[in-house]
Symmetry: C2
Subunit: 192 residues, 2 copies
């Protein structure tokens, strides 16, 4: 049994049972990836071949808008999965970049191996069904908040939901994620 | 074998194999629901007990904002699934209403029966894993478009993606979904 990514195995075992033997099989299907700060997993135009689990560190997904300004649309912290699911499912070019915000260590599940993994360890299909459903729930909530909250309320909600996050991530990325100018974000932080 | 919801069975068979016997089992786990125009499947504060497949008709999900104005955040047409996945997964009260926009016929999968269904027809777990992943891909794209497009571009994108939809759904619901005033939507429609 591997001890390279205890967070990954523990997270799966929160949702489904895995024998030691199944952990070994799983081990042969996933690829650990070390990432330097600001290193890319995919860039625009590449196919997003993997779904990535954050064992340590933080990823972000962004695109360059018409004004060639980086627009961050998603972050992933420890125990979160990240992929461009459109590109992943169709194995078509991605419109996004996925980048390590800080030094990170991720576990990658390759699209081309996924079905074979599911046939050998069927619980993994269940695990991913639950992960996708959870991500969808989070995404529905996010859309609701975008419609419901003012920019300032979005900021407060974000700070309260992810304490400690602000120290880890450059302010301009958070501003972009929240749809604020960096100047306005800085003003909101001072007010708190 | 049932012929009550051919769209439902055909949709599942696009993604996984189902024998006639498995269709019969599936049949015993799902509940067909006839809905009048404007009838509710859930209202705010209720637990969203089911995941709903639209066999015929159209559903929408909305909430009442601070000004008690209905904010539509999602539509579901034929072959789409709809649920409040947060409420569904936790069996906690929903913050949304799910309503039939027109006379509709849906197939409901109850949360309390889902795991038993998966153990009897394991392919259904796979089917739902794929459905959740597709919905997540659509949701990622939606968030990108919200950040990327102007209100007018959102409108054009929506019209091109779902031709015929405008004839079926009251304009104020579409305006609310697109984040436009009904007046501005009407202006945009005249311009086209």
């Amino acid at each position: 049994m591997t001890n390279n990514y205890p967070g990954f195995i523990a997270h799966i075992r929160k949702y489904v049972e895995l024998s030691e033997q199944e952990v070994d099989i799983l081990d042969s299907y996933v690829k650990p990836v070390d990432l330097k700060r600001r290193e890319y997993l995919i860039t625009e135009g590449e196919v997003c071949r993997c779904n990535y689990f954050v064992e340590r560190g933080c990823l972000r997904m962004f695109f360059n808008n018409d004004k060639m300004v980086e627009q961050t649309i998603q972050f992933a912290l420890e125990t979160w999965w990240m992929s461009d699911y459109f590109s992943f499912a169709r194995q078509s070019p991605s419109q996004y970049m996925i980048q390590a915000v800080e030094k990170s260590f991720v576990v990658a599940v390759d699209y081309s191996l996924q079905d074979k993994l599911f046939s050998e360890v069927p619980q993994m299909e269940r695990y991913f069904r639950i992960m996708m459903q959870r991500a969808l729930a989070a995404s529905q909530l996010r859309v609701k908040l975008i419609y419901q909250l003012s920019k300032e309320e979005m900021y407060t909600q974000f700070v309260n939901s992810f304490p400690g996050f602000f120290q880890r991530v450059p302010q301009y990325m958070i501003a972009s994620y929240l749809g604020l100018t960096p100047e306005y974000l800085s003003e909101l932080r001072k007010r708190r």
